[in-house]
């Protein structure tokens, strides 16, 4: 197995085979990350493409400190954030502060969802909700970080997350009852 370090060095030297190796190694998992941030796969692939070009152009800057996968992943998420920022000027209107209670399902609730269903539902969220939900719940960003990245207030981030979670739960409940999922 060729180590990441060898691959990175090969890529810096402009060797096409290594560039392809690096791409092959991370493309699928990174599309798995990007895909949650966009409504359709084509957009996600565009972001993946842009992200990889950034990766190749900035490889020299990777100092072999920390995880390379983490570094690539961060570039992908930043690319998704850039898309979000450039496509959306003013999304947030209300700034309601609510108690951030844990939203949970009933005990009898069927919790076995298919990943593809979960994906579809999260991708159907309004862009702002989707961004915050992904960053906070899956990547583990703090509200402070999200607020800085998305240029919104911390409270907005919190309230939008709450709304996103409510909406997701509503849709998942409907899904488990085999009803129409297209509810806003």
């Amino acid at each position: 197995m060729i180590s990441d370090e060898e691959i990175i060095k090969g890529c810096i030297n402009g060797d096409k085979k290594f560039q392809h190796l690096l791409y092959e190694k991370y493309a699928s998992s990174m599309l798995g990350v990007c895909i949650r941030y966009f409504k359709d796969t084509e957009e996600a692939e565009d972001a993946l493409q842009e992200g990889f070009i950034k990766v190749f152009k900035n490889l020299k800057k990777f100092r072999f400190e920390g995880s390379f996968e983490g570094w690539i992943r961060r570039i992908m998420i930043n690319t998704a954030l850039n898309y979000y920022r450039s496509n959306l000027k003013h999304y947030f209107h209300s700034d309601i502060t609510e108690n951030e209670n844990k939203i949970v399902f009933d005990k009898d609730f069927n919790q076995d969802f298919y990943v593809e269903d979960l994906l579809k539902i999260v991708r159907d969220l309004p862009p702002g909700y989707r961004m915050i939900f992904n960053l906070f719940e899956i990547e583990g960003y703090s509200h402070k970080e999200i607020a800085a990245q998305m240029k919104i207030s911390k409270n907005t981030s919190k309230s939008q997350l709450l709304k996103a979670r409510k909406l997701l739960q509503k849709k998942l409940t409907l899904l488990s009852k085999h009803e129409n999922v297209e509810v806003r």
């Binding site: 392809h20 190796l21 070009i53 920390g66 995880s67 996968e69 990943v115």
Partner: protein, 377 residues
């Protein structure tokens, strides 16, 4: 289990901790194109600029020539026609090539002469200088009389001789009156006119050929593969007649056992004698004697509370956990110790973290592993 129900964030975190999706082939093609673009773009543009400049020159020259031709006498028209005939055979598409051939073949000497004159006409160099540039044969021809020229090229038809003589007339005119630029221009136009006429003809021929040869037989190449070191893989190409692999094999099915990640390239000939190229990457992975989980739940329920690697016969071990931002938050050299999900005694945020593991197995082989783990509530 801590609860009978799950938080929606947990459901998602768990579902997507290892979610992956293969991008379409087009994505890599686009990336590859963009990675190689900077070099080709500049040279392409340069070439284009030259091409545009050259072709626009040709167009102007042709127009001038047509105008001049129309105004000139019928006699001159008759002389000009054979020139066309000669150069259609002799001068290839490429101007430089034409120049090279022209030096060798005597009848083409006249052509190269016209070219020299073209250059001269632009630079307004007196004919005396021009002579120095030309090869010995050319020199003698130019400096000598019309008669001698026709003698030195006996195989040329009378028409051609006439042409040459008319040209040497031009040369003489030049010598006598260097200020008269129109005449050399005329000879330029004859040539360039031919060049223009010639190109489209050849191009149409080529495209026709291609249309006729388009194969409809599909060749099926195998997909890229991932194997453990020591494992065998089979690569099979379907739909061809002959196969030639870069490892020397010639079958449609090859069995391979690469020790490192290798790209296999194959050239396939189909029933229509067309060549198809394919390449398959076989990624070789060190299938590790160490098991590393991809998620853990440090909630104190006794189940999967610690992120810990499991393996036997490990001599040396080093585990590091990094946060998203690349900050190292945990390190150990003891394989029996794992990360409890705390950073400086405080519970870490649920989310994605990254690990790097370096270990030495019983064969004293060094392994480097890295990946991500998800901290679940």
């Amino acid at each position: 289990m801590k609860n009978n129900y799950k938080d929606i964030g947990d459901i998602y975190r768990e579902a997507f901790k290892d979610y992956s999706k293969k991008p379409s082939a087009k994505t890599w093609e686009n990336i590859e194109a963009k990675l190689t673009k900077p070099v080709s773009v500049t040279s392409g543009l340069l070439k284009n600029n030259y091409f545009i400049a050259f072709s626009s020159m040709l167009i102007v020259a042709v127009i001038v020539f047509i105008v001049l031709r129309n105004t000139n006498s019928i006699e001159e028209l008759n002389i000009a026609d054979p020139i066309e005939n000669v150069s259609v055979i002799a001068s290839p598409e490429n101007e430089e090539m034409a120049a090279a051939v022209a030096v060798e073949v005597e009848q083409e000497l006249t052509e190269s002469k016209t070219k020299r004159k073209t250059i001269e006409a632009e630079k307004i160099i007196p004919p005396a200088e021009q002579k120095d540039d030309v090869e010995v044969n050319l020199k003698s021809e130019q400096s000598e009389s019309q008669q001698e020229l026709s003698q030195s090229t006996p195989e040329i038809s009378t028409d051609k001789t006439e042409q040459i003589s008319s040209e040497s007339d031009i040369v003489n005119n030049d010598a006598l009156n260097a200020a008269e630029k129109n005449i050399p221009n005329k000879s330029t136009t004859t040539e360039t006119g031919i060049l223009e006429q010639e190109k489209p003809v050849e191009e149409t021929e080529k495209t026709e050929d291609i249309i006729e040869d388009v194969p409809i037989i599909p060749i099926e190449f195998p997909l890229d593969q991932k194997i453990c070191r020591g494992e065998k893989a089979n690569l099979e190409v379907k739909g061809g007649i002959t196969y030639k692999w870069n490892n020397g094999e010639e079958g449609s099915l090859i069995s391979i056992n690469p020790l490192v990640t290798t790209i296999y390239a194959v050239t396939v000939t189909d029933a229509g004698q067309n060549l198809h190229y394919g390449s398959i990457m076989v990624e070789v992975y060190e299938c590790s004697p160490l098991f590393v989980p991809d998620a853990f739940t440090p909630d104190g329920d006794g189940l999967n509370d610690v992120f810990i690697a499991k393996g036997t016969d490990i001599i040396e071990f080093d585990l590091r956990v990094h946060s998203r931002t690349g900050k190292m938050i945990f390190e150990t050299n003891n394989i029996n110790i794992g990360w409890d999900g705390r950073i400086d005694g405080k519970m870490a945020q649920p989310g994605v973290y990254f690990y790097t593991i370096r270990f030495v197995d019983s064969l004293k082989k060094v392994h480097n592993l890295n990946g991500h783990l998800t901290l679940l509530r």
